[in-house]
């Protein structure tokens, strides 16, 4: 129920609606719960509603941290699927 995905705004449809893209899948999403959505924004979408904006700067900071610790510790790939070759 609380699951939600980040989606990029690809079209403003007016009247509290936008079109979003997640890996090629287009959806119509309500932006009634947030203000000032612009083209190219990333939204966190739950059950047809954007519940908040994805803060791209913060996401990049997290990803940079992950890359840094991975490089630092030279962790093995595929750790999430340890039984796979």
């Amino acid at each position: 129920m609380c699951l939600a995905v980040p989606a990029r705004v690809v079209a403003l449809l007016g009247d509290q609606w936008v079109e979003t893209d997640v890996g090629g899948v287009r959806s119509r999403v309500s932006i009634a719960l947030i203000d000032d959505v612009a083209l190219g924004d990333y939204l966190i979408v739950h059950a047809g509603f954007a519940i908040t904006r994805l803060d791209v700067e913060e996401a990049e900071k997290s990803l940079a941290l992950f890359e840094e610790i991975a490089a630092h510790l030279q962790g093995a790939a595929h750790a999430l699927h340890p039984r796979l070759p």
Binding site: M1, C2, V22, L33, I51, T52, A59, A76
Partner: protein, 377 residues
């Protein structure tokens, strides 16, 4: 998409595995409760438990909305759906949840009731507009992630002047549930459940912010780390909790900085406050009656309240005696402690609500646990 895939990177998970292993104190155990079913599934799907040292234990919490809905309230929805002129609309998960006498909304539909599945709550409005002769009821469930959509729905219905539309409101609030776990005798007196810290909900917190957790982090001296639903989010949050516990700190930290702020989504909060209000008490499956833990429609929007319009009554019913869902919801038992887990009760033919949903602990165990299922001894 970079903002999904990037948070599933294997090399970083391996690095977190090493960091956590180096940082845990081998002399003690760490019992961490993931409140959300979304986290439970991420943990099993990506095998996060396999990457943790043996003394870090994950306890599954009650954050699965269909799991915690009290059976009498589901029974009342099924009764309502059976009325001739009623169309009941709900989220997909809800339709398969077993009610008393092994009924479900899906079975009611097979018997002729007009029950529809919706991805978005707004679909219920379209159905009401298209069928003015029918009473369309939206069966609203969920935590704070889903609540603002319901509030918006009621305001839209009012704006459109829909007279044949109402909402059966079963929304619940997260902080009350966490507090009830910390106040429960299993935690306080019997010592059956140990919770040293919480992995906090991501999307609930996107709406309510991180501030509401500050009270019980302080009051109950338990750290809370709000975490995203991807495996690296969970790994990082576990590391942050281990660090807090090692340092003897108990504060609210935010790992999911890309979606959560301290204040949350103010507009969504205002919509909810305009339309809904706290009930003095609300019954949860597994947790019982909890004060100020559920929401109802304000009397100023009473015409859209299905409980008023249809004078709905929830009648107490006994739980299935074999089903351990109530204990599993409280974190007292694991799904594999249940005698009917994986035998009589499976996702295809669920007996308890935890086996139904994509957030239920039993469904996660059934779907992702490797090795043979062992019957409870």
């Amino acid at each position: 998409m970079r903002y999904i895939r990037g948070f599933r990177e294997g090399a970083a998970a391996a690095a977190f595995e090493k960091l956590i292993e180096a940082e845990v104190d081998p002399e003690r155990d760490y019992h961490l409760m993931e409140f959300c079913g979304g986290h439970t599934h991420a943990i099993f799907r990506y095998g996060v438990e396999d990457l943790l040292p043996d003394n870090v234990h994950l306890v599954h919490g009650p954050g699965c909305p269909v799991c915690v809905l009290a059976m009498p309230r589901l029974d009342a929805a099924i009764e309502l759906a059976g009325q001739d002129n009623v169309t009941l609309v709900s989220y997909g998960d809800m339709l398969r949840v077993p009610a008393s006498r092994r009924r479900s909304l899906l079975k009611a539909r097979a018997q002729g009731a007009d029950v529809r599945m919706a991805y978005s709550a707004l679909e219920a409005l379209d159905i009401a507009a298209a069928h003015p002769g029918r009473q369309v009821v939206f069966f609203a469930i969920g935590f704070e992630t889903t609540t603002p959509a319901t509030a918006h729905l009621i305001l839209e219905a009012q704006r459109l002047g829909l007279r044949n539309f109402s909402v059966y409101c079963n929304h619940v609030v997260t902080p009350a549930a966490i507090q009830s776990i910390l106040d429960s005798p299993e935690v306080r007196e019997w010592g059956q459940v140990r919770v040293d810290g919480f992995i906090g909900p991501s999307h609930v917190s996107a709406v309510i912010g991180s501030r509401p957790y500050e009270y019980f982090a302080e009051e109950y001296q338990r750290p809370v780390v709000i975490a995203g639903f991807e495996p690296l989010d969970v790994m990082q949050a576990i590391r942050m909790l281990v660090q807090q516990i090692n340092d003897g700190r108990a504060c609210v930290e935010n790992q999911f900085t890309r979606g959560v702020t301290r204040d949350g989504n103010g507009k969504a909060q205002r919509l909810v406050a305009e339309v809904l209000e706290l009930r003095p008490s609300f019954e949860w499956r597994g947790l019982g009656e909890l004060p100020y833990s559920g929401l109802r429609i304000k009397s100023s929007f009473g015409e859209f309240d299905a409980e008023r319009r249809f004078a709905m009554k929830a009648q107490p019913v006994p739980e299935n005696a074999a089903c351990q869902c109530p204990a599993i919801i409280r974190g007292v038992k694991k799904p594999t402690d249940c005698a009917i887990f994986g035998t009589a009760c499976t996702p295809r033919n669920p007996i308890g609500s935890c086996m139904v949903s994509a957030e239920g602990a039993c469904a996660a165990y059934y779907k992702y646990r490797r090795g043979p299922v062992q019957a409870a001894g």
